[in-house]
């Protein structure tokens, strides 16, 4: 963050942030931030050091983190578009409303498809399912990964061995190939199936990381104390160990969210996606099947991928920003 932004941001400190003590002015910067390489600004009012309660600390740094703010804003715009899109779309998305192959124009912002559908309306309609599948995939992968990671890391011993072997086998089996084999037998499936399938095949890296962290955390004194006080294992894991990884879990969920959406595009592109729905990957699939490439209908297949890239890139940028917020070592302030 540049000094100008800093001043502007601190000048408009809102009510929730002011809950802590008044911001100290001109305190030595190195005391709070290890990034000694940052130029130390002189002069009162230019640099302010946060000294409020821990509760507001993350929020204080969150609203001042450009990456987080930009990434989150872009993402919120797309989520809003996904929610209200179908209501404000200029044309009914699945109907053939115009002649085919129309170039983008004011009446058809992104032209029309091979079938004469309005591509812009299709795009607005497709966002919803991509988000839904991404969320389902991330939720399932997160839950399975956390459960297996916690159990393996907490219990250790033979159970850990078994779970690690299981994780390893899941990693070894290429999920896309598996889905193709399953998809050949299933005549139809839902967005829910796709989300669950993505979750069931992408949890291993979460489980590995959570297991490793649980392993180190369980040797800490506070865990011993909890154990001495007679708390039971599951309660220690959930109430004493998990909160220590809360930031990691949030970051992992965001990454899973992005990767699930990307995986879904690949599945949908191969025609393995939900039978009924319309998603960004389905648009690519149809464009490929109906020679969108050869007919140079770029407005049919370039926008869906570009939108997806923006959606995931915004998540990644927000993720880097959040990392800086949670990890004082990375803060640039």
């Amino acid at each position: 963050m540049s000094d100008a932004d800093q001043t502007a941001a601190t000048g408009t400190t809102g009510a929730p942030l002011a809950a802590g003590a008044p911001l100290a002015v001109g305190a030595p910067l190195a005391a709070v931030s290890p990034s000694a390489t940052a130029p130390v600004a002189s002069g009162a009012g230019k640099r302010k050091v946060y000294s409020g309660g821990r509760r507001w600390e993350f929020l204080y740094f969150a609203v001042r983190n450009k990456k987080l703010v930009i990434g989150l804003s872009v993402e919120i715009i797309f989520v809003l578009a996904a929610i209200i899109g179908p209501f404000v779309a200029p044309y009914p998305p699945k109907q053939f409303v115009a002649p085919a192959f129309l170039h983008p124009s004011w009446s058809h912002l992104l032209g029309t498809s091979y079938f004469g559908q309005d591509v812009f309306s299709l795009l607005l309609d497709s966002l919803r399912e991509s988000y839904l599948v991404g969320f389902l995939g991330a939720a399932f992968a997160g839950i399975i990964g956390l459960a297996i990671g916690f159990i393996a890391g907490w219990r250790g011993g033979w159970l850990d061995e078994v779970l690690q072997t299981f994780t390893y086998i899941v990693v070894m089996i290429p999920s896309l190939v598996l889905l193709i084999v399953i998809g050949a037998y299933l005549k139809s499936h839902s967005a829910f199936f796709e989300g669950v399938f993505i979750g069931v095949t992408t949890w291993p890296w979460v489980a590995r990381a959570v297991r490793a962290q649980t392993f180190t955390l369980r040797q800490r004194d506070f865990v011993d104390l909890a154990r001495l006080s007679g708390k039971r294992g599951p309660s220690i894991v959930l109430k004493d160990i998990a909160p220590n990884m809360a930031s990691y879990i949030l970051l992992a969920f965001i990454l899973l969210f992005g990767s699930s959406m990307l995986i879904a595009v690949n599945y949908d592109f191969l025609g393995l996606g939900p039978t009924s729905g319309v998603s960004l990957g389905d648009m690519l699939n149809l464009a490929e099947l109906w020679s969108g490439l050869q007919l140079h209908l770029w407005w049919w297949f370039i926008p869906p991928g570009a939108v997806m890239t923006l959606m995931v890139a915004a998540l990644l940028v927000a993720n880097v920003g959040l990392d800086e917020v949670f990890n004082p070592k990375l803060r640039e302030t």
């Binding site: 390893y168 086998i169 190939v177 193709i180 005549k187 592109f269 025609g271 297949f301 991928g305």
Partner: protein, 331 residues
């Protein structure tokens, strides 16, 4: 050493068993009946011939046997290298089709994976210490991470092959040219190979360089690196040590990523109509050629396992700790 390898090989055998069992179980667990689906292709009108044909095929494919017998037969056939007969290319054997397609996939993936890994590591390590490189490689790497691969491949095929016409759009070799050691044929192979190779390479390259950059930055902050610097060691030496340490987690990462890369290859080959295994499995799925589908699935799993084994050996070679502990010296 024997213990380490025994453990690893046990793990591979277990994974192989799991893969084969899944492959065997899918047609039997899934709703719908592959034999019925196959018989209905003959579009018979009356019930009599339908049942007769159904029973014939049921017997021919061994679906009338008790379930455990079916399982043993499956393994028995597998060990005799018999993966069945393809339906879509009847009466071609599944193994023949795989043998025709596999060279294309190997020629695509082996260079793409190794080159992107080696170059990605180098560039990532450089980016960790050069601000200018960091500011270009990192955003680009993230951008490639955020792109849906199918779209990147489509866009590349559209722009470089359709608009600019630098490369042929589809297929694996030039049409109408006889196979052989002629320049025209080999040039056809290379020019068809380049675009699919490039897209796989770019996507993996971005991932490896970001990972390496982060790992090297982490290593340069560790005690041994600080100590070396405090001793006045040239920064080249410090960086080399950091690199050698950072490359180990990257290699484990490569082993973990293999399944995804090999699976993702299906998308590549479908976009470019490249006649490798990915394209073959896609055709098998759309044509409901179940024996071909299952055959390729097993072949791909064996491929992933073999590649993992190679990575394990490389890991032993470059990690002095495992190497020493295997020679009996104290680690």
């Amino acid at each position: 050493m024997t213990r380490y390898f025994a453990r690893k090989i046990g793990l591979y055998l277990l994974a192989f068993w799991a893969g084969v069992t899944i492959d065997w179980a899918i047609p039997r667990l899934m709703p719908g009946n592959p034999i019925a689906a196959y018989v209905s292709r003959f579009s018979l009108n009356s019930q009599g011939p339908w049942t007769a044909l159904y029973q014939l095929f049921n017997k021919a494919f061994g679906y009338n046997l008790p379930i455990w017998d079916q399982y043993w037969h499956y393994w028995d056939n597998l060990f005799h290298g018999n993966l069945g007969i393809s339906l879509y290319a009847f009466p071609e054997k599944v193994t023949t089709l795989i043998a025709q397609a596999a060279p294309y996939t190997l020629a695509l993936l082996v260079p793409a994976i190794t080159l992107s890994y080696v170059l990605g590591n180098r560039v990532g390590a450089m980016a960790a210490r050069r601000k200018a490189l960091d500011n270009t490689v990192l955003p680009l790497g993230y951008l490639f991470q955020a792109m849906p691969y199918a779209w990147l491949a489509l866009a590349a095929a559209f722009y470089l092959a359709q608009i600019e016409r630098w490369f042929p759009v589809q297929g694996g070799s030039a049409a109408g040219v006889a196979a052989g050691f002629t320049w025209v044929y080999i040039w056809g192979l290379v020019s068809h190979w380049f675009l699919p190779f490039l897209t796989v390479f770019l996507v993996s390259f971005g991932g490896w360089s970001i990972g390496m950059r982060n790992l090297v930055i982490y290593e340069l902050e560790t005690d041994y690196a600080r100590y070396l610097r405090a001793l006045g060691a040239p920064s080249r030496l410090v960086r080399r040590y950091a690199y050698r340490n950072a490359v180990l987690p990257q290699l484990s990462g490569l082993a973990l990523a293999l399944g995804t890369v090999i699976g993702g290859n299906i998308v590549t080959e479908v976009v470019f109509q490249y006649p490798g295994l990915g394209h073959l499995i896609y055709t098998a799925a759309t044509d409901q050629d179940y024996s071909l589908l299952q055959g390729i699935f097993i072949f791909i799993i064996v491929g992933v396992l073999v590649a993992n084994f190679v990575i394990d050996i490389v890991y032993i070679l470059i990690d002095p700790r495992t190497r020493l502990s295997m020679q009996g010296a104290a680690a």
